[in-house]
Amino acid sequence: MIALRRQISLRERWSALQWPKIAPLRVLPLLTLVLLLVSGPEQWYLRGPLVALVALGIGLRTWLARPQFWYVVATLLGIAVYLNWESSDNHKYLFVYWCLALCAACSLPQGEQAPALALSSRWLIGLCMALAVVWKAINPQYLDGTFFQYELLCDERLASLTTRLTGLAPAELAANRELRELLQAGHLRGLEVSSAELTTRPAIAWLAAAMTWWTIGIELVLAVLFLWPAGRDVAGPASVAWLRNAALVAFAATTYVVAPVRGFGWMLMLLGLAQCREEENRWRLVYLAMLVVIQAYTLPVSAIANWLF
């Protein structure tokens, strides 16, 4: 009885907490500027103007509500992607679409801006996930686990995870990467290497299979949830909205701890925040917290732990 009372009391206190209110149209443009500053184009001829625009946007905050501002930003980002398509990751394209969505939303009457941004964001997330699923589903190398086995053995970003979960030593993984390097550039040292046998463990296959099916599974769930027809209410049914948010946060929490691609993670969190329903202020706070978590994922945790202990 006492425990029940304490539980009720905790629940009451929880719901009575005054959570800070997040107004998407005020917060999202500013967060976008932060995103562009940390993950924007690297070419000097685009970075220079973009940083200047960001400074102007922060100084003259009313500009952030104008479609012209976002049109110029989207154009700059689009030029960056067009001129450097061979090195532009997919999230750079998403930056362009997001700024275009901001531009389009700002061009609408004020009452329609947030709903338009929410609808654009939902479609962007849904399409991005649907395309990711299609590419994985049509690729036999992905479905049979080859891709993740290769990544676990050769991708430096996954080395820490591989070591922890499979017992492969960091030196063995480093040797795998060196073998790959020899295969690619051995000719510059007079070495003609035509094949290399990577060091592996049986656990790699299990881990790769788990990652393969988790990734395509969660992406498929996200694609379905975010492309679910909205019906009469632009925000969509409440139950679907809850699932959407939970799935997107689960995706970000599990994906970016393994592959800390901050730009993509932040972009998805901004899109997630933008598509929240009016009453979902707590989910907005969760998305904001996830920005911090994704940033924390980029910290060299292993090195810090080794240094401390």
Binding site: E86, S88, L100, H187, G190
Partner: protein, 288 residues
């Protein structure tokens, strides 16, 4: 409270929905503040139907970015299907789906010399062309890279380094060294090659540098490869995707077309010829 919209205004109280020109809007007094001016956040409980014209206007604006995404993704799919483009690049969201990423593809270049076929260390100034070739290998891009490589001057980096080293070693320890020592006038041509396993790739000579130690280059060959991985054996193998060769005659014809003298004689000609290449020269270009 009064909520102002572009199409007019409405007066409503608290959470009760009010209708404006057919748009159902739920107002929320706690969200708006006169001090914020045009930053007032209206709630998102926004329901269809709008009047037809407004609805299409709204949907068109909301769908603009997603349509752009679909357009680019469609183009990307076509390029992957027809041009060997990697699904990782190009905006189709095919990342983390295949081993055949641009990082698993590599470009090798060779030059025909009097000493035989020698590997070329492709200079960073051509990195963008190499990246493009890796992301979407095609004959024209490979030929273009071969042409650019054939127009450059090449030397053995070990000889230049050895010459610099011997000059520095010959100086008294307390004597300061100057920049001129880093550009030795002559190298010991015909010296033995470094042992296998040490760097042997020829390095490009910067356009402004006097090419006293340039090697005579015949044809240039560019190869594009990709790696494949067999999960059962854990074996990484390579597979050639494309080869492009630039014959010496073509190289000389290009030089004639550009009315260039042999470049080893006059560094100013080198400069102008390099300018004709229209390379995207980066700050770190030729810094190796």
């Amino acid at each position: 409270m009064i909520v102002a919209l572009d199409r007019g205004s409405v007066e409503s109280d608290g959470e009760k929905p009010g209708e404006i020109n057919g748009i159902f809007v739920t107002t929320d007094c706690s969200r708006s503040s006169p001090a914020r001016g045009n930053e007032v956040d209206l709630p998102m409980r926004f329901r269809f139907p709008l009047p037809t014209a407004d609805r299409w206007h709204f949907v068109r604006r909301a769908a603009l970015a997603p349509l752009a995404l679909l357009l680019v993704a469609g183009l990307h799919a076509v390029r992957v299907a027809t041009s060997n483009q990697t699904p990782w690049k190009g905006g189709g969201f095919g990342m983390f789906s295949t081993v055949d990423a641009e990082s698993s593809r590599f470009v090798r270049a060779w030059a025909n010399t009097e000493q035989g076929e020698l590997p070329l260390a492709i200079p960073p100034a051509l990195a963008k062309r190499v990246l493009e070739l890796r992301a979407a290998p095609n004959r024209a891009a490979a030929d273009d890279l071969a042409r650019h490589l054939s127009l450059l001057e090449w030397r053995r980096p070990d000889l230049a380094q050895a010459a610099v080293g011997s000059q520095i070693a010959a100086l008294p320890a307390d004597q300061p060294i100057s920049g001129s020592i880093l550009r030795p006038a002559a190298t010991s041509a015909g010296a033995p090659w470094p042992a296998v396993g040490l760097p042997r790739g020829l390095e490009a000579i910067a356009p402004r540098e006097v090419a006293a130690d340039a090697l005579a280059i015949g044809g240039v060959r560019v190869e594009v490869w990709r790696m494949t991985f067999d999960r059962r054996s854990g074996r990484l193998e390579r597979e050639r995707m494309m080869v492009s060769e630039r014959q010496p005659s073509e190289r000389h014809e290009t030089a004639k077309r550009n009315d260039q003298e042999p470049r080893t004689k006059d560094p100013t000609n080198l400069k102008s010829e390099f300018r004709n290449l229209k390379l995207p020269i980066s700050r770190e270009g030729f810094a190796r």
